[in-house]
Amino acid sequence: MSTETTEGSEETTDDEPASSALETWDRIKHTERFVLVSAVVFVAVFPWVFTSLPLIPNDLLAYDQLARLVLIWGIFALGFNHLLGQTGLLSFGHAMFFGGSAYATALFANNVVADPFLSVVVGVCFALVLAVVTPFILLRLHTVYFAIVTLAIAQMLYYMAREPFEGITGGINGLGVERSPLFGLVELGADIPGIFGALWGTYMYLFIAAFFVAVVVFITRVRKSPYGLIFKAVRENETRASFVGLDVWRYKFAAFVISGFIAGIAGGLLPMETYFTGVERLHWTLSGDVVMMTVLGGLGTVAGPILGVIVFLYFEGVVNGLDVIGGYWLLTLALAFTAVVWKYPDGLWGMITSVSSRLRSRRGDQ
């Protein structure tokens, strides 16, 4: 009792107000509620900042659909990062979950019910099946062998979708996708009335944003669970992890399934957004894009991969359309990527955190 009171009073008297504000901030920023609030605030203001920020020339602003694509790819990058950033497994075949789910969603929507939610759920289920079956081959392998075989499996699915199953998948022409109102009630393509319409555009944005926030909250919880710690331990020293008594295979399996599940959500949302799906969503270049986005933004964090997606899609969707420089968007992006990763191996997010901690330590010196 008495020790508790002395400790409490010490805390309030010893700390200077400025440093205690920083300490409070440090405590808050690691709570789950803070992550939830941040995710909600982000999805609430992001489209407006991205597409309509005042004083920015029109050429440099993005368009409504790009904001929705950022959230979809953001989900994908978070799923990918869960495997590489948390558990240390580099997959070069995440297109299999993305494209697989996209096809399952599209086929369900076209042939059974075109409800967006149900279709996405079916797509996710298909991605889950892939994520449960493939580890029996993949998890025997390590490092580069794991990466190559994930790539091989995804490419196998790509070629299967392109030729033998052309009648179902539409082959290289792809497949138009139907979409009915959500639960028969809300037409997702309709504009949201009033001020919220100006902020967010159509109901489709809210539909995608709901998945996005749910994924961020889910991932944060997993990171704060025993799994989050054990995944990192496996990444750091697999041998040691097994010698403390952990069934490393099963934890890697769990990480793989969680990652495929989240990638499947993104894959299912995309055909609902674009009314289309095609074999290129199974192609290895798509797996490569998500690697680049995640590494550019910052591996192992939640904010990093999303930041990477924003920059990548901004280059692809906006810089691409600029006059002179537009033709060189990919080159510009590649140069930016190399420069960032060379100076800051932890990516753009690592750059931001290292700058902010340098500012803080300078303040502390004074």
């Binding site: 025993p226 990192k232 010698f243 008594g245």
Partner: protein
């Protein structure tokens, strides 16, 4: 009944016999040491017992359970812990997290479906972690990233991870290698504490003969994969075969 027993354990790599018909037994509560020149097969023997290597032939039983064919994590779950020759830690985790990983494996088994519960809600894991931190005197560095510790502390953390698995039998592979005299002394007193207060059985591999003769109840001597002598420190000191193979060579 002995706690650990190997019978006619043999391991060959190609034509090389790394372990040759090794038959040893360890009783509950003992401290046994394994000595032998470099390349005698000491690490091979530990690796075979703890599941890292599959022996070519022979038997290993621990507390009545056959260990042959079990995975390292299954053997660890039975209560066989080990610390490694190199500081085998989780470098980017904090000191506390390093121990927590092992504490989770001890309290919740080799695999547990709890990916949706917060890990700070596990009191038993926290208690075990804090107790280990205190025993191994790493409490002041608990929040530091393990990578940033000095070498001696990394080795102690490595032993701490082994301890957090709550072993009944602990293999310690050269725990004092690369340590300063002060750190070695600290490790020796830790070993004594483990025997006395933690009721542990310890299987020690060590190069420091002063440490070996100081703490061991019994000593096995390995040469070219075969056991050439077993006995108390005094018996080993005066054993002609040991002197020739090992001690004599060193004294010259």
């Amino acid at each position: 009944m002995p706690l650990l027993e190997t019978r006619n354990l043999t391991k060959t790599f190609g034509g090389l016999k790394a372990l040759d018909d090794v038959t040893i037994s360890v009783d509950q509560g003992e401290l046994v040491s394994l000595i032998g020149p470099n390349g005698a097969g000491k690490s091979t023997l530990i690796n075979a017992i703890t599941g890292m290597l599959e022996p070519t032939s022979g038997e290993i039983t621990y507390a009545g359970t056959d260990l042959i064919g079990l995975d390292p994590f299954e053997i660890a779950q039975l209560g066989v812990g080990r610390s490694f020759q190199t500081a085998s830690i989780f470098p980017e985790l904090t000191v506390r997290e390093n121990i927590q990983v092992a504490a989770f494996a001890t309290e919740h088994g080799s695999f547990s479906v709890n990916f949706f519960s917060r890990r700070d809600s596990y009191d038993e894991v926290r208690d075990r972690t804090e107790r280990i931190l205190e025993t191994i005197e790493l409490g002041d560095n608990a929040a530091e990233v393990a990578e940033s510790l000095p070498y001696g502390d990394k080795r102690r953390l490595e032993v701490a991870i082994g301890l957090a698995t709550d072993p009944d039998l602990m293999f310690m592979d050269e725990p004092t290698a690369g340590m300063s005299p002060g750190e070695t002394e600290m490790t020796v007193s830790l070993i004594r504490e483990l025997l006395a207060d933690w009721n542990m059985t310890i299987f020690l591999v060590e190069h420091d003969m002063d440490v070996i003769f100081d703490v061991s109840d019994r000593i096995f001597t390995l040469n070219d994969g075969a056991i050439i002598a077993k006995g108390t420190p005094d018996e080993i000191k005066s054993d002609p075969a040991v002197r020739e193979a090992y001690l004599g060579g060193e004294a010259e």
